[in-house]
């Protein structure tokens, strides 16, 4: 059945092949995206959505380029027409369309091989096109101007509040400090090493001997404790037998 191909036919075949692979890619992309939407809708975030859209639009673009390319014969000049319509299921077709189209019948063909929009849609498009054509240029420019004005106003408001906000944040930074490093150091030193909590003052120590009497009693039988070599120098002058001397 296969007659020797003309150059044009070869070109058509090659073009169609490229087209099919591109469309296939696009289809896979869309399928993956739908799958993502259905399964990961809870964790999906906006940036990754945008990524998906960008991918798809890229593929659409390359498809368009292919159609416009030099190698592509003018597809417009070719006619496809159904030779045989049948109600019987066609397994080959079913496999080809991944189960979407079971048979090439009268119901489907008009939709699939359509080259023009449906009449109602066409009507609507015409209606809108007419409306656009009928708009007065003056009113159009007026509306355009007012829109521009509103937009720029909005932009101003947003910018000014943004400035304010940033200023606020800046001011927070310059606010009086809520904590002091020196205090932290002092507190930590006091709590962990008892710095500035010990009583080096001998007059204080004299008072101390009273209330905690038991300690003195405990210590008296062991006079050796007071004579330990001094590690931290304190200004104690009142004698080495004192109970609170820091060795």
């Amino acid at each position: 059945m296969q007659a020797p191909q003309s150059k044009e036919e070869k070109q058509l075949d090659a073009g169609l092949e490229g087209l099919i692979t591109k469309v296939h890619d696009l289809k896979n992309q869309i399928a993956a995206f739908i799958n993502k939407l259905e399964t990961e809708y809870e964790t999906l975030n906006w940036p990754s959505m945008l990524d998906n859209f960008a991918l798809m639009s890229g593929q659409l673009n390359s498809l368009k380029q292919l159609l416009r390319g030099d190698k592509m014969p003018a597809l417009r000049n070719f006619v496809l027409f159904p030779v045989l319509l049948s109600q019987d299921p066609d397994p080959h077709l079913e496999k080809l369309t991944e189960g979407r189209v079971v048979s090439c019948n009268h119901d489907l063909v008009p939709d699939y091989l359509r080259t023009k929009p449906e009449p109602e849609v066409e009507e609507k498009i015409n209606l809108i096109a007419n409306k656009a054509a009928n708009v007065n240029i003056e009113t159009a420019t007026k509306q355009l101007n007012s829109l521009n004005k509103i937009t720029s106003n909005l932009l101003d408001i947003i910018n000014s509040s943004k400035d304010e906000w940033e200023n606020d944040a800046g001011q927070k930074g310059s606010q009086p400090q809520t904590s002091q490093q020196q205090d932290t150091t002092n507190l930590v030193a006091a709590v962990t090493k008892g710095l500035r909590l010990r009583r080096p003052d001998p007059s204080m120590q004299q008072m101390q001997a009273g209330p905690i009497h038991s300690m003195q009693q405990v210590q008296n039988p062991r006079p050796g404790m007071g004579k330990m070599p001094s590690a931290i120098k304190t200004n104690i002058k009142s004698g080495s037998a004192h109970p609170y001397q820091r060795p």
Partner: protein, 209 residues
């Protein structure tokens, strides 16, 4: 957690400790007491390795546990000051290992049968020093009463039906603190007193030999 008396019961010559314990147990069961598990009191000795001067005695701390208060730990100094703490205190003693060290082969234990009789808890067991038998311990606790001087008559009556004349007087530790509100630390102090007596006894025995 009531008034408790702890006695060491003498082992007569020619009888084994185990036999005497069994006699006491039978005696208690005859009173109608019911077995309710076992008891254990143990005592570790820690000694200071701090030599501040040569003529100072090293200090001693005893760490005791009583199965009647399983989540507590008792630390008693050689001046018989008793600190009650939770069982993490053992870990704290470990932190002090550069200052206080556990004396080897000095662990004393009292283990035996626990009985319940009405509001009384009776315990009979044997005391051991580093695993070797040292004597017999009898403990009687009267749970509802918190003041020793109040219930001594009552305790004595029960005690004498078990151990006879051994319980003519309250234990020395309890005698000094009869009027206080009773606390488990007094029980533990009594145990320590008995343990120390056993220790002294075995020490003199060894010297005697």
């Amino acid at each position: 957690m009531g008034v408790t008396c702890v006695y060491s019961y003498p082992v007569p010559d020619g009888k084994s400790g185990q036999a005497v314990v069994e006699i006491l147990q039978r005696q208690i069961e005859l009173l109608g007491a019911l077995r309710s598990g076992h008891f254990c009191v143990d005592c570790d000795t820690f000694q200071s390795i701090l030599q501040t001067s040569i003529n100072v005695q090293p200090k001693t701390v005893y760490i005791l546990h009583n199965s009647e208060q399983p989540a507590s730990c008792f630390a008693i100094t050689d001046t018989s000051l008793c600190l009650t703490a939770d069982t993490l205190f053992d870990g704290l003693m470990h932190q002090l290992k550069n200052y206080y060290q556990q004396r080897k082969n000095a662990k004393m234990e009292a283990k035996g049968q626990r009985y319940e009789l009405g509001d009384f808890i009776l315990k009979v067991g044997s005391a051991s020093l580093a695993g070797s038998f040292k004597g017999i311990i009898v403990e009687v606790e009267y749970c509802p009463c918190m003041v020793a001087v109040d219930c001594w008559g009552l305790m004595k009556e029960l005690l004498q039906s078990v151990v006879g004349s051994v319980a003519d007087q309250p234990p020395p530790i309890l005698k000094n603190r009869q009027d206080e509100l009773y606390s488990p630390s007094i029980t533990v102090s009594q145990y320590l007193d008995i343990f120390n007596n056993f220790r002294k006894l075995s020490a003199t025995n060894q010297i005697g030999r």
